[in-house]
Amino acid sequence: MVSLTSRIGVLGSLTLAIVLCWGIKTESQSGTDIPRTDHGAATMEYQQRLLDKLMPEVDATKVPEGFDPVIWDAFIPQNNEMTASRVALGRKLYFDKRLSEDGTVSCATCHDVTRGFTDQRPTSEGINGQIGRRNAPTTLNVALLQTLFLDGRSPSLDHQARLPIVNPIEMGFATGEESAAAIRNDEEYQRLFQEAYGRGVNYEDIGNAIGAFERTLVFLDSPFRRFLLGDDMAISADAKEGWRLFNEKARCTACHQMSLSNPLGTDNRFHNVGVSARHQDFESLAKQGVQALKEDPSEQKLEELALATDMSELGRFMSTTNRSDIGSFRTSMLLNVGITPPYMHDGTLPTLWDVMDHYNKGGEANPFLDGGMEPLALSEQEIDQLVAFLFALTDQRFAEENEGQMKAQKAAAAKSRAFRDDDMAFRQKLAFEDRISK
């Protein structure tokens, strides 16, 4: 009798353990098992342990695997060569909440190691619970981008990395010097800054060091890359069909060029695909934008306008005031796209199925819509194949998270496809038709 009960007990707990494991596996993105803290980010300690596992012993001075040394070298700024001490300093800064005014936000808060180096929320939360207007892009593979921020308003990673620190709704310091002052008494920092840049703690080198660290976050090893390298079994039949559609009927490759030598899947150019046309009038917004920039053309003002006001929707226009740039944002990179939901510059599309729906109907009609946007007439099966391909672009080290995301997104898409418009996709109704016959 006794032995039977204990047997049931053993069986029961075994089952429980399996259920738990399964639960952890699929819900890892919702983070039930991950210790979470300010603004929903995983604790900095947890993130750093995970990063150790993902990237054991990186030699910063070496060219990352799979890279042509000449090409890699072109991405490294001459005034910020990669050294071990710079990367070590940048890494410490990346996870340091003292770089925010109230000590609750670090880079890793919105570029969370456990969440594909994003925060997986529509738009990000800064100090005092303030919500910005932009979706946090991943910091994975950012070394390869030609411009930084979704509107390309920053020319380099080193320059970009220090701006959130002084943005009032992100990390909130009034000046860069104040952020440097906040960590200047830390003896380890004094030593690290001296080692890395040969001078004391200062704002500019905070950006340089974080930039150097972020350049080590090279995660290219996707099943698709292995497929391109000749492993025919690396991706599913659906994903292969998706790759064909990507280059043909779905027109993705017009902007997301992708190959072994150009692995990111972005043309680094700026396009209006109509995401904010759903809720913004670009003309009147552009008027406001020009006026605001005229009153204060400073870099800091531009930062504020881009993140805290409706003018965020003007995208590239706020940097150039070129009419052709109204509502345009840099083509997103596609590597690791599966683990960085929700999508688009404002995070309004929750799943990759929604993204396909958006493009399938030719985007949202507006006077500045990119001319390459066409209704695609993709069937449901074709959409599934394209999504299968997109999930094959995630680095193997995130395979588990990728799997969980795919299931979660599929379930969400089965419930709701808010952006699906078959009339537009199959040209029963044409772009601008509703607008001009209002």
Binding site: P77, Q78, N79, Q146, P155, S156, H159, E204, A254, C255, E283, S284, A286, K287, V290, Q291, L293, K294, P297, S298, E299, L302, S319, T320, T321, N322, R323, S324, A365, P367, F368, L369, D370, G371, G372, E374, P375, R427, L430, A431, F432, E433, R435, I436, S437
Partner: protein, 375 residues
């Protein structure tokens, strides 16, 4: 032998490298300086058209207020519509242009449609176009293109839009619309069907069709129409083909251009606005200032020879972007009848060919040259 040729791509990559190198050299402060300077440069260059949202528009408007008679009209041209079930891209493009023009604030005095509304003159094509153009908020003036005409010799077009040759006065300017695509009868002797005739006219580089003309009867009409106007009346003439001889093989050509120009020669300032060439095109012959219109359907390459020296050629359109090099635009008419011609490119920056540019024979207000080659 030393290679002297550099491909477009090579030169583009060189320029790009130079640009990024220069960015690398900037510290934060000079970056801000550069961005601010760029802002100022844009405002100071011809890149800023009198679009409603630009603050410079304030100065445009105050200038307009002091010149009681100056006015502005918008244009759309060369949509080449097929039935929407056959090709809806051109249909969407025309609707985009209508949406564009309807968004102008303040609204233009009228919208001028530059011809080739239809691709093969079919009733359904013309009806579709008329239906879309009905959505314009401002009054419509419309001109015939050869694609509208040669299936039924204008029967359907006249049914929808009235007479093709007409004139009117607007705020002190006399405006004339001509049918400049009259061809000699090449079809009867060959026993061609209406569709054969239409397709022949719609083609390029063929020796069957005759060159476009305004023709003797219309020249006579024009003389009479202008008889009561003094030599200093500002005159705007609309013609589908350029009223000069550009490139015959593509029918960028009006065969009796000199005779028409002779009729116009007594006037102090004449502006000719023409469609047909689907590109930025500027010319001046004596007192006559010529401006081309952008198409909504597709951009043409430039003629391989005989380009007017005043033309600033637009750069080669992006093959990944079917609407690149297309667009619509506006014409700001000054009191002396000369115009600022605004090319509102889709997906490019708008570009103005200012009154002062043609008035000074290209010495002043030179439009910015695109940074990529033309084609």
């Amino acid at each position: 032998m030393k290679p002297t040729y550099k491909s477009v791509e090579t030169r583009y990559m060189e320029e790009r490298k130079e640009f990024f190198d220069s960015l690398k050299k900037l510290d934060r402060r000079s970056f801000v300086k550069v961005s601010t300077a760029a802002l100022g440069a844009v405002a100071a260059s011809g890149l800023t058209p009198p679009f409603s949202f630009q603050p410079v528009n304030v100065s445009f408007r105050s200038e307009a207020a002091s010149q009681a008679n100056s006015f502005r009209f918008a244009y759309i041209s060369d949509s080449h519509l097929y039935e929407r079930d056959l090709n809806d891209r051109f249909v969407r493009s025309l609707m985009r242009a209508v949406d564009d023009v309807n968004n102008l604030d303040p609204q233009p005095d009228f919208v001028f449609y530059g011809g080739d509304l239809a691709q093969l003159g079919q009733p359904l094509e013309l009806e579709l176009g008329a239906q879309i153009l009905k959505n314009l908020k401002a009054p419509l003036k419309i001109m015939v293109g050869e694609h509208d005409w040669y299936l039924d010799m204008g029967e359907k077009w006249k049914d929808l839009f009235g007479e093709p040759t007409y004139s009117w006065d607007h705020k002190g300017v006399h405006c004339v619309t001509l049918l400049s695509v009259v061809e000699k009868d090449f079809w009867t002797a060959r026993g061609m069907s209406p569709m054969d005739r239409m397709k022949t006219v719609a083609g390029l580089d063929n020796s069957v069709q005759s060159p476009f003309t305004v023709g003797a009867p219309q020249r006579e009409w024009l003389k009479n129409d202008l008889a009561n106007y003094s030599d200093d009346t500002p005159l705007i003439v609309f013609s589908h083909s350029p009223l000069y001889k550009l490139y015959k093989a593509w029918n960028f050509w009006t065969d009796d251009a000199e005779q028409v120009q002779a009729i116009l020669s007594r006037f102090k300032n004449v502006v000719v606005i023409h469609g047909h060439t689907h590109q930025m095109l500027t010319n001046r012959i004596g007192n006559i200032h010529f401006h081309g219109l952008l198409a909504t359907a597709w951009p043409w390459p430039y003629a391989p020879e005989g380009m007017p020296p005043l033309t600033v050629e637009m750069s080669r359109p992006d093959p990944f972007n079917p609407q690149d090099g297309c667009g619509d635009g506006e014409v700001q008419v000054h009191t002396d009848g000369l115009v600022d011609k605004i090319y509102n490119f889709w997906n490019r920056n708008p570009l103005t060919v200012a009154r002062a540019y043609t008035a000074s024979w290209g010495q002043e207000a030179i439009p910015p040259k695109p940074n990529r080659p033309s084609y």
